[in-house]
């Protein structure tokens, strides 16, 4: 019994008073606290940081000191802690529950990763320190490289790309550089219809036209259509494998052979590598370049939208075009190759420094924890979990393609036909069930797509609970319980938001006139 109650234990009280629906005076609802913007809370005179007080001195700024008000408000430390703690509670994260966002691999983020990333010898070293003072950092980069090359069976890796899309850019640039070295950059890159939007955007960025390759009825690339599209104008084919329908491209080697026979390169989007670690190596399948998303496969936190990290592995045909900088070894001492030598064919520098060291250390920590054996188990469990969901929902939802899936299960909105419930409604109703929705309306190749990726982090208990909710929702939709869906979510911190208004008259920052 707590001291606060002074010996008066509380017990449930049944009254006739309205238990819901009244407005609090504060705007809060118990533990659900509403929170203003810092601009409404703080003042420019407030600070939560103490600094050494200086006597006046002459500035050496050439008369360019900032005299006009900046306008950034400050908060004291307690108010800052409270503000951001309250905001955090409006978010859903992996730490709270199943996060089945397809193609995003929302797996558990081990806290050991956070600890090692904050070791002073790792988190507190400068990218331009003398190399003699960062030998451990270079060793770490080499060790990570070794793991990535071994898992993929590829002979080279570029660590520096800052995220998946940046890795794609790196890969396609290397392809273009290799083709130009041959004397013909070619014109077009082929992307399947099911590709991530970053693929065609990246191709265009490198000066290529993009041509779409149709899929087959079984959700794979149409090999015959691909062959028909291949000629000496094609620079590369960009294929995600396992693909965005959650399926392994079973004709991947035939694809690679056809691509190479046409003198083109095979770029593999490695977003879904979590399905095949230790099970299959892209290097055995004819891939020339593939990026990883360390924030997906290797558990570095998504952080609400980055930072990511997108290392790229290269085949022998492309490795000479890899970007700078990279680590080299010379008689036991590690060096950083930072500028091109006279005969270098490198595609150049993609970022100011050496990439996302903070993500390298987390990813390596994760890999060392699992070991080669554990990583293989990761992929097996991820695939098993997805197939368990597929098997448990196939009688009430519409499975888009037959056969086992890889690490994610794709459904379409066929089962919602004539119910008045859309994929969007269904997704929002999942929020009321306490889940983050699956990926919706992607890939584009099926109608009203719902892409469910549970990852290996979920226990059978968690999966069964999730399945119970999904089955319940599917049945509710079919039984005409439209009300459950059309206004959903009902139990989230916000109801559905008006995105049309946001885009029509964009308000992208706070201004004082906003106060109401």
């Amino acid at each position: 019994m707590s001291m606060n109650n002074q010996g008066r234990p509380s017990s449930p009280v049944h009254t006739n008073a309205q238990s819901e629906g009244f407005k609090s005076f504060s705007g809060h609802k118990g533990l659900r606290l509403s929170e203003p913007l810092i601009f409404e809370l703080g003042t420019v005179e407030t600070s939560g940081v103490d600094t050494e007080v200086l006597e006046d001195f002459d500035l050496a700024l050439g008369g360019l000191d900032r005299t006009a008000e900046i306008g950034c408000p400050g908060l004291s430390e307690p108010d800052t802690v409270r503000h951001y703690t309250r905001l955090s509670r409006l978010n859903y994260g992996i730490d709270m529950g199943v996060f089945p966002l397809g193609s995003c691999t929302m797996k558990h983020n081990p806290r050991l990763n956070e600890k090692t990333a904050r070791l002073p010898g790792i988190g507190d070293i400068h990218p331009l320190q003398p190399l003699s003072t960062v030998q451990g950092a270079l060793e770490l980069m080499q060790e990570l490289s070794h793991w990535l090359m071994t898992l993929t069976g590829m002979p080279a890796v570029a660590l520096s790309p800052k995220a998946g899309a940046h890795g794609e850019l790196c890969g396609v640039m290397a392809i273009r550089a290799a083709l130009e070295a041959r004397g013909d950059a070619r014109e077009t890159i082929l992307c399947p219809e099911s590709a991530h939007g970053t693929n065609p955007a990246t191709a265009a960025f490198c000066g290529y036209k993009v041509k779409s390759v149709p899929g087959k009825a079984n959700g794979r690339v149409d090999l015959e259509a691909l062959k028909a599209a291949l000629d000496d104008s094609i620079a590369a084919v960009m294929i995600t494998n396992p693909n965005t329908c959650g399926l392994f491209e079973n004709e991947v080697k035939e694809i690679a052979d056809a691509v190479h026979a046409a003198g083109a390169f095979f770029y593999c989007d490695g977003a879904n590598f979590n399905a095949i670690m230790g099970k299959a190596r892209p290097g055995d399948l004819g891939v020339d370049a593939m990026h990883f998303n360390l924030h997906k496969t290797f558990s570095t936190p998504h952080g609400g939208g980055g930072p990511g990290s997108g290392p790229v592995v290269f085949s022998d045909a492309l490795k000479a075009y890899a970007p700078l900088p990279y680590v080299t070894t010379n008689e036991g001492t590690l060096h950083m190759h930072e500028w091109p030598a006279a005969d270098d064919t490198t595609l150049g520098r993609l970022t100011a420094f050496h990439g996302q060291m903070g993500m390298y250390v987390r990813a390596l920590t994760y890999m060392l924890s699992h070991g080669g054996d554990g990583l293989k188990q990761v992929s097996e469990d991820a695939v098993l979990n997805a197939n368990y969901i597929l098997a448990s929902l196939k009688d009430v939802m519409s499975v888009s393609f037959d056969g086992p899936c890889m690490h994610e299960a794709l459904f379409d909105d066929g089962f919602l036909k004539d119910t008045g419930v859309t994929t969007l409604d269904f997704a929002k109703a999942m929020i009321d069930e306490g889940y983050h929705p699956m990926t919706m309306y992607f890939p584009l190749v099926v109608h009203g797509a719902m892409l469910v990726e549970p990852t290996e982090s979920e226990s059978r208990f968690n999966l069964d609970q999730f399945i119970r909710s999904m089955r319940g929702l599917a049945k509710a939709a079919k039984s005409g319980d439209v009300g459950r869906f059309e206004g959903a979510p009902y139990y989230a911190p916000r109801k559905r938001l008006d995105e049309t208004q946001a885009a029509r008259k964009p308000v992208l920052r706070y201004t004082k006139s906003d106060e109401a």
């Binding site: 200086l54 700024l61 050439g62 900032r66 006009a68 900046i70 400050g74 800052t80 951001y84 509670r89 978010n91 992996i94 730490d95 966002l101 929302m106 558990h108 081990p110 050991l112 904050r118 010898g121 988190g123 070293i125 400068h126 990218p127 331009l128 320190q129 451990g136 950092a137 071994t150 898992l151 800052k162 940046h166 850019l169 939007g197 065609p200 955007a201 960025f205 392994f248 190596r281 998504h302 609400g304 939208g305 980055g306 930072p307 500028w339 150049g348 520098r349 993609l350 100011a352 420094f353 060392l368 990761v378 979510p489 916000r494 109801k495 938001l497 995105e499 946001a502 964009p506 906003d514």
Partner: protein, 450 residues
């Protein structure tokens, strides 16, 4: 394995439910012969073993906080309040995804809105995006945005732009028909460097890219440059690699910038050997729809309550595919959160105070080095970074000082080995530098240059 919840019994029950005998039946589409390759990697390790391994690697490095430290050159060691790192590790922030489901991501969206506002205020611009990978990639994106706005292809780059940034711009645009003109680097004569830039602008120029303070630490008056650029209908892109300077130096917006990009690492983020950092991107209202990257906007929900969403996504790759303004997908959200929390702790008052302290330390550093015979300080107007000319190769002197436990700065030759500026050393002094640090550096430098 501690991260994997399934038991062997679970696995069997699940395989039965699926209707297959073994897990490899689920991998039936992998070509025969390629399934289950031999992978020669160590077996799994306990948490303690992994931590020991990483700690040993870390111990081979010299942590910036353990020695007198004067390295800048695009990444700066500042004191980050303990509150920042505590708050960003809340699982609701750390383990959230991109806020594509705004009803359950208002925490992320609101801090992005706060971040966008803070960046706009700091840079003196109308609007900012939700962040980019880092300052260098933001600079490349700005060059491409200027092309979209002006429909011209020629970007003029100042000699005072960080050579790595210049390299990133060149790499990023190498397969387009953009033309990148790089003006002469004159670390000893910032006025001439600026004039060379002005003289290069003509009616084909899409943008002028200038860094302030320059890579050599000079604070420039950009107003004449803005005037010259605008007279030719070119955009002025201002790059800020030390965002702390905006607490003391007139903002790029006030000087006439059309786009401001920057490295936000200094506020809220550690050195991390070069990443992850947080790229800043701000511009004026009229160019909003040409911006790259994510944007968060204010709106209302079905009950009329204020809320935030990602907006103007018709610019982005997942909608526009090959016609997108950029292929960028991620921002640097958690780093932008660290920025926002640190900035909220500082407020304008705290930012100005820390910025003044930086400037004061740099003045002390300059004074201490200027009296050493053979050492010539090149800066008159500067914020927290200065460049000195040494009587010998700066890289050798830095190595000598490193062996004495002093990290003395960035040899210019490390940034640009072909520039013929190997005798130059760039030194930064932030609020973390003590009087003793400066004295130790000056003494060791004196000895090294004799």
């Amino acid at each position: 394995m501690r991260y994997l919840p399934l038991t062997d019994n679970d696995r069997q029950v699940m395989l039965d439910k699926i209707g297959v005998r073994q897990v490899d039946d689920l991998f039936q589409d992998v070509p025969e012969g390629d399934l289950n390759p031999t992978i020669d990697l160590p077996r799994h390790k306990s948490e303690m073993e992994v931590e020991r391994h990483l700690t040993r690697l870390a111990a081979k490095n010299t942590a910036a906080g353990s020695v007198p430290f004067f390295i800048g050159g695009g990444a700066y060691k500042h004191h980050v309040p303990a509150t920042v790192d505590h708050l960003i590790q809340r699982g609701e922030f750390l383990t959230a995804y991109t806020p594509y489901q705004p009803e359950i991501a208002q925490g992320t969206l609101q801090y992005i809105f706060e971040f966008q506002t803070q960046v706009a205020q700091l840079t003196g611009m109308d609007v900012a995006n939700a962040s980019m990978y880092d300052g260098s990639t933001a600079t490349a994106e700005a060059v491409m945005m200027a092309r979209r706005v002006t429909r011209r292809k020629c970007a003029v780059i100042a000699g005072g732009l960080h050579p790595h940034y210049r390299a990133v711009v060149e790499t990023t645009t190498q397969f387009t028909d953009d033309k990148i003109v790089v003006c002469e680097t004159m670390p000893a004569d910032p006025t001439a460097e600026l004039q060379a830039l002005i003289d290069t602008i003509d009616d084909t120029t899409s943008c002028v890219v200038v860094q302030n303070p320059t890579v050599a630490g000079h604070v420039l008056d950009l107003r004449p440059l803005a005037e010259a650029a605008h007279a030719q209908k070119a955009l002025l892109i201002v790059v800020v690699t030390e965002v702390m300077s905006l607490g003391l130096v007139m903002s790029p917006g006030e000087m006439g910038a059309d786009i401001v990009v920057g490295e936000g690492q200094s506020i809220g983020n550690g050195l991390n050997f070069g990443g992850p950092y947080v790229g800043l991107f701000a511009t004026n209202q009229k160019y909003v729809r040409q911006m790259p990257g994510r944007l968060c906007g204010e709106t209302v929900d079905a009950d009329g309550k204020r809320g935030f969403v990602l907006t103007l996504s018709t610019r982005e790759q997942h909608i526009r595919r090959e016609k997108a303004t950029s292929n960028i997908c991620t921002n640097s959200s958690l780093c932008s959160l660290a920025f926002t929390i640190h900035m909220t702790l500082l407020g304008e008052k705290g930012l100005r105070a820390v910025a003044r302290l930086n400037h004061k330390k740099a003045q002390q550093l300059k004074a201490a080095l200027a009296v050493i015979e053979g050492v010539e300080v090149l800066n008159d107007a500067f914020f927290n970074e200065i460049t000195v000319r040494l009587p010998g190769d700066a890289a050798d002197i830095v190595e000598t000082l490193a062996s004495k436990g002093i990290l003395a700065g960035v040899p210019y030759g490390r940034l640009a080995p072909d520039a013929g500026l190997d005798n130059l050393l760039i030194l930064a002094a932030t609020e973390i530098v003590t009087d003793d640090d400066i004295a130790a550096l000056a003494a060791a430098m004196q000895e090294a240059v004799q």
